[in-house]
């Protein structure tokens, strides 16, 4: 069972696309082989936009566009990026073809991760995005284990 208490959390507000770039850079600085990032938030909240900037910072040169149609897109970089959109798996729960990637050696970014949360490892970084207005976004970021230092880094950056 998940124990909510041991997840480190932080809440931040982003006011512009520049803020999103900065956050992506901080997180990318802590990238490691096997990293998993879950993104949640309504259509148009900026999940793919965040992924674009994260990709740039882990050495992916190709343009990142939406993975919705194929569910998974793979990109080569300093770490390989496995960009997933699991929205369509809502009623099904999981697709075992994704296992090779989620438990693979690159960095997985999973949009709509809440739909398959139970099948994901306990340790991961999650970012829940809420659109407050046209540009403003409120983010709830959680992580444990190897992800705690990312939360700390974000806290340090945003408390100053």
């Amino acid at each position: 069972m998940r124990n909510e208490c041991i997840y480190l959390k932080t809440k931040i507000v982003l006011n512009s696309i520049e803020d999103t770039k900065k956050l992506a850079k901080i997180i990318a600085d802590y990238a490691f082989s096997g990293m998993i990032i879950g993104l949640a938030g309504d259509l148009g909240s900026g999940k793919t936009t965040f992924t674009k900037y994260l990709a740039k910072n882990i050495g992916v040169n190709d343009n990142i566009n939406s993975p919705t149609f194929t569910i998974l897109k793979i990109y080569q970089g300093n770490y390989d990026l496995y960009h997933m959109d699991v929205y369509r798996l809502e009623d099904i729960g999981y697709d075992y073809e994704l296992d090779d990637f989620i438990y693979g050696e690159g960095v997985s970014v999973i949009e709509w991760y809440t739909y398959i949360r139970d099948q994901l490892p306990e340790e991961l970084l999650t970012i829940d995005i809420q659109a407050d207005g046209e540009f403003q976004r409120s983010l709830l970021i959680e992580g444990k284990g190897r992800y705690e230092k990312i939360i700390e880094a974000i806290n340090n950056r945003y408390s100053n």
């Binding site: 148009g44 343009n63 149609f69 194929t70 099904i92």
Partner: protein
């Protein structure tokens, strides 16, 4: 030259025999659409399993209908990507088995090259040719100066156009797939909302539909909050006008810059009536082809045709290391 085409990149298991890149002797398509419909889209793992179930039957049926034997084939052309990786692998491996068993050369074909070459079945391609590829997974403008020479002028920086349709439909409470429904509604409405025409003046051939999608969603959200009455038909018409304005504008730009002799609109969104109308209305000086409905959706005849020209052009044939690739650049 008899070419066996194999296509399993998404939810259609298809095998075809095409003679000389033109004459379709058989084109068997086993669609899984009814299976995936209840999930609101293609489920990769289910798609792979269905391909496995159907693949042997579809191969044999295509050969039988063409009234030839496997030994008579001169080339095997199989979609190697882009697409669902598990699905692609079924077609690629089945094709490799036939290639090995009967000692027939094999080529891996780009799925979009297939959609473009679908046009050669009913028409003759003339160059320089411009292809607007629009579907649930693609939005690209491709320039061809001669056979099997693809240059990507531009592509979507975020969402594919068909995907934007699906997502807008979802927000408006319309069923999946969104394309035909929104198109239908749009035909009954008027462009009253003046949505932005993203990147229309960017000066390049790239597209972006994510910002438009967000704008549409915000507008809808605000109208709901203000308890304004929403005319869904006008909403769809406004969205469709914005999308087709950009697509047609950039197609015309490319046509003028590259002295284009023929325009092909390929992919699922080629069926959109608003896009067809606007293309035909605004472009009078160059013939525009929309592929025959039978070759518009995924099929192996188009792959056999593309494979034939790929082979003629002298591209190296593949070997048993041929593999499926979920993301694949056309120029590679």
């Amino acid at each position: 030259m008899y070419v066996l085409g194999v296509e399993t990149s998404c939810d259609e298991t298809s095998v075809s025999v095409v003679k000389d890149g033109k004459e379709v002797l058989s084109n068997v398509v086993l669609s899984q659409i009814d299976i995936h419909k209840e999930y609101g889209g293609v489920v990769p793992e289910i798609a792979s399993r269905e391909h496995v179930k159907g693949v042997t039957y579809v191969f044999d049926k295509a050969i039988k209908e063409a009234q030839i034997k496997y030994q008579d084939l001169d080339l095997i052309a199989v979609t190697k990507g882009p697409g669902l990786i598990g699905s692609l692998l079924i077609g690629v491996n089945a094709a490799k088995v036939i290639s090995l068993n009967y000692d027939i050369p094999i080529v891996g074909v780009h799925h979009i090259a297939g959609h473009i070459y679908a046009n050669n079945i009913d028409n003759t391609m003339e160059f320089p040719l411009l292809a607007l590829v629009v579907s649930g997974g693609h939005t690209e403008l491709i320039l061809m100066k001669e056979h099997y020479d693809f240059f990507k002028l531009g592509e979507t920086q975020d969402d594919a156009v068909g995907e934007a349709y699906d997502k807008v439909a979802r927000v408006l409470g319309l069923p999946y797939p969104g394309g035909p429904v929104v198109d239908n509604m749009a035909n009954k409405g008027k462009d009253t909302l003046n949505f932005p025409r993203p990147m229309i003046d960017s000066g390049d051939y790239n597209f972006s539909f994510s910002g438009l999608k967000s704008h549409v969603i915000n507008t809808h959200h605000n109208m709901v909050q203000r308890k304004e009455e929403i005319n869904i038909e006008n909403f769809c018409a406004s969205f469709q006008e914005a999308v087709t304005d950009v697509l047609v504008h950039k197609t015309i730009m490319a046509k003028n810059e590259y002295n284009i002799k023929q325009i092909i609109v390929a992919g699922g969104v080629a069926a959109n009536s608003g896009l067809r109308r606007k293309m035909i209305d605004k472009i009078k000086d160059v013939p525009i082809y929309f592929p025959n409905m039978a070759y518009c959706t995924d099929n192996a005849a188009m792959i056999a045709t593309a494979g034939y020209f790929q082979y003629l052009k002298g591209f190296k044939t593949d070997d048993l290391y041929l593999n499926g690739q979920s993301r694949l650049n056309m120029e590679e």
